[in-house]
Structure formats: C-alpha cells, structure tokens
Symmetry: C3
Subunit: 162 residues, 3 copies
Amino acid sequence: MAETTDKKQLSIILFSGDLDKAMAAFTIACAAAGRGYTANIFFTFWGIALLRKTRGRGKDLLGKMFKLLLPVGPEKTGLSKMNFSGLGALLMRRLIRKRRIQNLQDLLKLAMERRINFIACQASMKILGFSRSELIDYDLLTEGNAETFLERAEESKVQLFV
Amino acid sequence: MAETTDKKQLSIILFSGDLDKAMAAFTIACAAAGRGYTANIFFTFWGIALLRKTRGRGKDLLGKMFKLLLPVGPEKTGLSKMNFSGLGALLMRRLIRKRRIQNLQDLLKLAMERRINFIACQASMKILGFSRSELIDYDLLTEGNAETFLERAEESKVQLFV
Amino acid sequence: MAETTDKKQLSIILFSGDLDKAMAAFTIACAAAGRGYTANIFFTFWGIALLRKTRGRGKDLLGKMFKLLLPVGPEKTGLSKMNFSGLGALLMRRLIRKRRIQNLQDLLKLAMERRINFIACQASMKILGFSRSELIDYDLLTEGNAETFLERAEESKVQLFV
C-alpha cells in the first residue's frame, strides 16, 4: 500500500528511462522526501525499465523484442543526448563517479530509504509485457493508472513530467 | 470558443509529437476529463502535427520541407526512443493493438468526445507554416499563445509539459 | 541574489539544451514575467550549456570531451527532433528569422530585461565541469540545488520540467 499523509506532496511522472532524466527526477524526489514531503514517482513507459530486476520472458515475438531491447534496471540506461550507442552514457557514468556525485543506483536506493511511493503504470506494463514479479521488491511499489496519478497530483504542491 | 468553468482544471503543453509521449498526454487528459475536470491541451511545436488533417502547401522552400517531413495526424508519428526510422513505432503500434489498448487515434477521438479544449500555439503554427484550415475540424480547437496557456495554467490543479 | 516577492511565481526546470525546447521555456517564462510573475528558470544538465559564454577548460580528459561537445550559448544548440547533425537546426533558425519570430538569443536577452531569476544547478555544473566564470554575466544568475528548486516551486502557480 502506498502511504498517504497530510504532508506536502510531490508527484513526478517518470516517462523517460534515460540516465540523465532519471537522475534529475530522483534528485528532486529525494530532496522533497528529505524536506518532509510525501513524494510519489509514477513510472510510465520507458521509465518502468528502471524498476526491472530480471529480463523476464516475452509473451510473443514482439513482446520478446521490446523486452530484449529495453534496459534492465538503472545500470544500463542511456543518455537522452549524446548517447553515441551507449558510449556517452559510459563516459557520463565515469564522470559522475570521478566527481563523487550520487549515481542513479545510489539515488534509487536513497529513494527507497526515504520511503518514496513508487507507482508503476499498468497500461505501460501491459504494452511492454512486464509483470509485477519482474520488477524490484519494494513494499511501496504499487501498480496504478492515470486516475491514481490524478488523485495524487491534485493534492501535490509540485508536479512534473520527466 | 474554449469552455471555461469553475471545475478543477488540468493544462498540458503537448510539445512532443511522438507517439509514446502523445499517448501519455492524452491518457492523462482523458482521465481528467472523465473525472469532471476541464482539461486543456496546448499543442506546441511538433505536437501540432498531431492536429493536421492534410499536408497543405508550404509558403516557401524551407516551409515546404518541414511540412513534408512532419507527420500528418496521429497515424504516422514516431517513438521518442527506439524508433529505428519508424520500425520501432510500427512494432509498438502492433503491440498496442495486440494488447487491446487504446491507440493514439482512439485517444484523440475520446478527447474530443470528452470535450477537452485544444489550443494550437500561434507562434508554432507561424514557424512551421500551418494554417487553421489544415488542422482538424473540432469546435473546441482554438488558437492561442503563451498568455492563453498561463491564464489556464494558473487556475489548474495539474500542469504538465510533455 | 535572486529576487523573491509576494507576486505569482512560475518555476521552470530547463533540463534540455535543445533550441526548440529552450524557445518554448523562454517564451512561457517571458510571458509570465510580462504578466507580473516572478519567473524562475532552473538550468539543469544540458540546459546549462545555454548559459556558457566561453568554452573554458576541462579538468581532465573526460571533462574536456564533454565541454568540447556541448554547445556554447544559444547560437549553436540543436533541435530535439529532425536535427540531422545540425542541418535541421540551421534550417529552423532560417525559418524563424524569415517568419520574423524572436529567436533564442532574443528571448534570452528579453528574459534578462524582464528580470527573470536564473538558477544554475550546482550538481550539473560539477558533473559537466562548468565554473561560474564560464557562464554569462547576469546579476540574477545564482547557483542552486534541488532544495532551491523546491522552495520556489512550492510557492509557484505554474511549474514545468522542460
């Protein structure tokens, strides 16, 4: 069950699965949670790939293809710009480590430590063929839809589509 | 004329003309309208291509080129990721049909049935050389600018840039 | 120091450094400032490249590479779609001039004339190796982080992630 409170809320739709955009989303959400907000991240479309723990099996040829092409978890995501077939993302990861900045895996872990609500979009899961068991284990990870988003967003001080 | 009410409002800037992002925007807007919101979609830049009904004619060589390269309506839009020159979008469309999920054309139709306000950005129309007559027929489709957006957005519970 | 007031506020995270997206963000922010809003633009990641005045020097090989590849200021930014290695952006710039619409440089200047607060994201500056002295001279340009954004965003009528 997702936690709800009378605290200030922040709701982010994480549509992108890109390293750079996901880092921005998690940085904001973690900062909000640190300030005492109830923070909600809605993982939609490519963003759901960040929650995968295994590659899983596709139901049909098309489903298999997309599951094979999409990254599993935060380690393999590309950049939204200058990705150069993954080379840009590789160099960016080195740069982040070198500058001693939290990487995406750290931020994902921090988000769970700060009890941020994760909501995985059901329609996206259906399209891309992801089942709940293929996603990470986290008690605040629930499934939801556009209604779920609106319920939270209308109570939120800050709403962003990333 | 666009409808205004004392109902809750949602305002989405649809800057992207991509299949995946447009589906996300329409899904949220249709859900909001279904919940009784006054929903507004501001079609800006590439997003305006979704409203085209004919290819039209460019005023000059440059204008002709962009009009030729941009898709006409929701059927030909690409994916924001893994498009592979349209192959990714083709496969995604098959996957959506196979999974019995509403495609972009269905969502566009639903948005009009639910009386969502469509506002086409005048500056973008001017840059890309689109005239009103080249866009779809819909009584709630008006032209507007950044001022129009701000008037609505400041009254909106939920605002997103997609 | 950034100005704060009891006026309506607008807060935009400009994550993208693309010509088209940056034009959209600046158009909205300038319109808001024209309506009497306190407008805040948070330049994050690729968006920071828009504020560069010189190419500067990288601290190490990786830093040098990214600084070399990223554009300096608004004149050289590409399009988020149909960029074709810069050709699309070149043609778009011609089209904008031909249609007598404000280009990105005009909008950046207008934003400063309208006293829009510019906040450069410290973490992004650290990752990409930008120092304050390499960014444009503007008394309302300050450095900030996710906390700074949240402080402003929670007081803002309109918040967007571009």
